[in-house]
Point group: C2
Chain length 151, copies 2
DNA sequence: GCGCTTCTGACCAAAGTGGTCAAGAAAGTC
DNA sequence: GACTTTCTTGACCACTTTGGTCAGAAGCGC
């Protein structure tokens, strides 16, 4: 249940792209802005390109830009592009798992987990992220002191 | 963002223990009931023992039982016992990460993700799980057809 | 002491993580 | 057309994690 470096980097790079208004941004500039190893980042950007989140052009004046408006791309889109499906259990989606005996209702629990994960990741867009104005339900979640407590 | 086989197995074994009313249950019986490789399961049970969730006795008439009442153990307890902290980003807790530039508000997003994960995992107990009567908020999450849709 | 069951550590193959390196292919500049 | 710039792709690499298995030690009940 952890967020990989790849996913974290991907979202940060995407945020930089969302904030840039003019033309293509070079990978190098993104890497510097977010302190990400350049070569690793280029692989990540390629994944995002294949997922249709980002577009790119080579050569002088080349670089990367978002394929869609920043308010049409959610964090879930970015995470899925580099990490694959968001809440798999034992590498299969929770709705396909069959539990036996006393664990029968575990499926509903994993479904609820995924639903709550989606409730955050699919509702924050890159535009929200760079503006700092998260949807109010998410802001409420993050506002609770309890949410900041380690455990 | 996936649930490992270990965590899944751990919760299922714990559910069996929660359902058993009498004496210690043998590892073998748990393994059969939930179709888990025995030797692997014993390692998992050991982890749970170290975490104080389970107790054990060796020898004939030995086996495992819950260290606390089933309604005092949450799924989060079990998952943490075998997987460690629940929503780390790049192996550190979200409240300690510092983001720069346009990714500054990403921290709040990860905090919200963790909060929503906790909202499920820390509120479903083993007793809820075996009885099938999940807390109403969680039941509502799992009831939405949307939550069952792949994506 | 004997049988049973947990406990523990060693080991293993395969996959994932977090990168680096080097060659290629397009795009722009002169 | 030559040259530079920048993305594209695949190979490689060290290390850790995952999902196990094996074998032996140690405790418990009789």
């Amino acid at each position: 249940m952890r967020v990989s470096a790849k996913a974290d980097y991907a979202v940060r790079a995407a945020a930089e792209l969302a904030a840039a208004d003019e033309g293509p941004i070079k990978g190098e500039r993104l890497a510097e802005a977010q302190d990400i190893p350049l070569q690793f980042l280029e692989h990540i950007l390629l994944d995002m390109k294949h997922a249709g989140i980002v577009r790119a052009r080579r050569g002088a004046k080349g670089g990367y830009w978002l394929a869609k408006p920043a308010d049409a791309i959610t964090i879930a889109d970015v995470v899925r592009a580099v990490e694959g499906p968001i809440a798999h259990v034992q590498s299969s989606p929770p709705e396909l798992i069959e539990y036996r005996g006393n664990a029968e209702h575990l499926q509903e629990v994993w479904i609820a987990v995924r639903a709550n994960l989606r409730a955050v990741l699919e509702h924050v867009t890159l535009a929200d992220l760079v503006s700092g104005e998260l949807p109010s339900e998410i802001e409420q979640l993050a506002a609770s002191p309890d949410a900041w407590a380690p455990r």
